[in-house]
């Protein structure tokens, strides 16, 4: 790693993040990489782990998947690849194989963003890399998605991962990621840094399901560089209880006619604090963005739905939409849509609505024989099950199944 990067990391190692509760990193154990046994197929991980993987859309039997990467705590335990169009491997392996990968590290996410990025970099330098490297080869189009899983298996672990994802020119890449904890884990911290690079004419769809435990803190840090005529689509689903999540992915639409879509489905339960947002900087001629979120708060949960759309050149377009339902008096939804226009000839809008379940809809369903509770839960599930756009048909059907499964607990 460059000395300059390390120097910045060293300076930022105690820097608080702008949003979210400040997590005391000393509480957590930095487990060594290599503590978990490696397997050659995803279905060789323990049965209990497999069941959890299924819940976050990661198929242990790897049906209709082009490859798999599983990280348990700090170790990459499984890497498989069944396609010649894509590459998937642990970052430690990738760094040995390709000298040029370092040119892609800490370029989409600044190493000194906050203590979480800084600590990930310092740990990477000290103990070796963790996380995954994914790349689609130029001109390739693999229809089956790659799947990656970040799994926390031990109590009080601090898991860090630094992922680099590259779609080469004119290629198409589909990724499903699931993040989860083992059932004996109550408290842990996950920090995942992900850097995406879309070369001209490429497309990435990235569908992520989170299913953490009630005392887990989660701090993903994501940056996306979108080149000419490229499209990045992110789908994020979280409906299970968690202690806290704070994330604010930033996409840089610097390419001509580049396009970004962020779609998030958030269900807050118990004491969860979910502080999620997305930011798109429209810097390329003709670039566009859509950010759509649906949020439901139950119990004592607190949800912050942020969005920041910045139009910095002419002829760009963007829309930000956040709809929320507050289902309990002790819960809260705070929608913060921000629009920033700093050029003429741009078109940006936002739409935010926070409210309650419509009574006439509940009555309509009770007049069909549903109880009030059944009616309310059907309406909430309907509200959250927005049409996720931009996926190829097979993946759309799979994502719909994943979403339906996530919504069963709501």
């Amino acid at each position: 790693m460059l000395r300059d990067t390390l120097g910045k990391a060293e300076k930022a190692k105690d820097k608080k993040a702008l949003y979210g509760e400040d997590i005391d990193l000393e509480k957590f154990i930095k487990e060594d990489a290599g503590d978990h046994e490696k397997v050659t197929r995803a279905n060789e991980v323990p049965k209990k782990v497999q069941d959890t993987l299924l819940k976050v859309g990661v198929d242990p039997n790897e049906e209709e998947r082009s490859g798999t990467f599983i990280q348990m705590d700090q170790s990459g335990v499984c890497t498989t690849c069944a396609s010649e169009s894509v590459e998937i491997m642990g970052m430690n392996v990738a760094l040995d194989k390709y000298d040029w990968i370092k040119d892609y590290m800490w370029k989409a996410v600044a190493v000194d963003s906050d203590k979480y990025t800084a600590q990930t970099a310092l740990r990477e330098a000290e103990e070796g890399a963790s996380g995954y490297f994914i790349r689609s080869l130029p001109g390739s189009k693999e229809v089956f998605p790659l799947q990656a899983c970040m799994f926390i298996g031990d109590q009080d672990v601090m898991q860090t991962a630094h992922n680099v994802i590259i779609a080469e020119e004119n290629s198409e890449l589909h990724i499903i990621t699931g993040c989860a904890t083992g059932e004996d884990v109550s408290s842990a911290l996950h920090v995942g840094v992900s850097e995406f690079y879309l070369k001209p004419g490429s497309k990435i769809t990235f569908t992520m399901v989170h299913n953490w435990a009630e005392q887990v803190d989660v701090r993903p840090r994501t940056g996306v560089m979108v080149g000419d005529e490229s499209t990045y689509i992110s789908n994020y689903i979280l409906t299970s209880p968690v202690r806290s999540i704070q994330t604010y992915p930033t996409a840089y639409c610097s390419g001509k006619n580049s396009r970004v879509v962020f779609q998030s489905i958030l269900g807050g339960q118990k004491d969860s604090v979910l502080d999620t947002g997305s930011r798109v900087l429209l810097e390329g001629e003709g670039s566009s963005a859509e950010m759509i979120s649906r949020a439901v708060s139950k119990d004592q949960s607190q949800l912050y739905a942020r969005g920041h759309l910045a139009g910095r050149t002419q002829n760009v377009k963007g829309h930000l939409e956040c709809h929320g339902l507050v289902l309990s008096d002790d819960s809260m939804i705070y929608a913060v849509p921000e629009l920033e226009g700093s050029a003429t000839e741009l078109e940006m809008s936002h739409e935010a609505a926070v409210g309650k379940i419509a009574e006439e809809e509940v009555l309509y369903l009770t007049s069909r024989g549903l109880t009030e509770e059944e009616a309310a839960s059907m309406i909430v599930r309907g509200f959250l099950s927005m049409d996720i756009t931009g996926l190829p048909p097979e993946l759309a059907a799979e994502t719909k199944r994943m979403l339906d499964m996530s919504l069963q607990g709501m």
Binding site: L363, T366, S367, R368, G369, E372, M378
Partner: protein, 256 residues
């Protein structure tokens, strides 16, 4: 054969948001009978429907409602529906993300996780000229007037209630589809059986009575200012209303 009373409403008074809307309502509907409720806008027809259905803001201040001999005056809507009350709404609300199909599965007693509707339900849907693409749409979202009515009737076909209320089943429907709807309404109300064999009962709200050209009603009631002002033979009453208007018809009954 003993004819049983299905719905007995006695001396009913209803208030909505502190305002008295219905008074002195007596309405008795036998098993196998279809009644029609006529009356000008604002006379209380919909209020009577919603009260029978048990919607919360319709507050019964006097009288009682018996269904199959049992007092349902203070049961909630779900409980009444489970006992066999059904309704077709004039303007039902759209529910985003809830597909018509999801609702039909619940109404027809199917497992909600079933991929497809049962073959019987699919057949009924096709009869109502509703295809799979339509069943996959969010319920009532962007439905045309005619589509709303056909979807409401299809849902009743899934539920098979013993007593069904229809709120303006022919409004906004083209002539061709009125006949299709009427055919299924007749089927729901056992009209395709001999009078003595009919078990299902109905109550229709209609403004203009057009649907009565296709669905035979046994008795008509005219509701004026929250009271039943006149009851009798549907075709005679309709004839009077057409000639004299609602006011003339009621004067003829000599109550007002």
């Amino acid at each position: 054969m003993v004819v049983k009373l299905l719905l007995e409403i006695t001396d009913l008074a209803v208030e909505v948001s502190g305002k008295q809307v219905l008074n002195d309502i007596d309405l008795y509907i036998d098993e196998g009978e279809t009644h029609v409720l006529l009356g000008p806008n604002g006379s209380g027809k919909s209020t009577l429907f919603m009260t029978i259905l048990g919607f919360p803001k319709y507050n019964v201040t006097n009288g009682e409602i018996l269904f199959k001999g049992e007092d349902i005056t203070h049961l909630n809507t779900t409980e009444r529906v489970k006992k066999g009350v059904g309704v077709s709404f004039q303007n039902p609300p759209a529910i985003r993300g809830v597909r018509l199909m999801d609702l039909l599965k619940v109404e027809g007693g199917q497992d909600p996780s079933d991929e497809d509707l049962s073959p019987e339900m699919m057949e009924l849907a096709h009869k109502m000229k509703l295809d799979q693409r339509f069943l996959d749409r969010d319920v009532n979202l962007g439905f045309s007037g005619g589509e709303v009515k056909r979807s409401e009737i299809l849902q009743l076909l899934a539920q098979q209630p013993d007593f069904i209320m229809f709120d303006e089943p022919d409004s906004g429907v083209d002539i061709e589809n009125v006949e299709l709807l009427a055919e299924e309404i007749n089927h729901l109300l056992d009209k395709d059986k001999k009078p003595g064999m009919r078990k299902k009962s109905g109550l229709l709200i209609t403004h203009l009575g057009y649907i009565l050209n296709f669905v035979n009603a046994d008795t008509a009631h005219v509701l004026m200012d929250g009271r039943i002002a006149c009851s009798g033979n549907p075709s005679e009453i309709l004839e009077d209303i057409r000639k004299e208007g609602f006011k003339g018809c009621v004067e003829c009954c000599g109550i007002h």
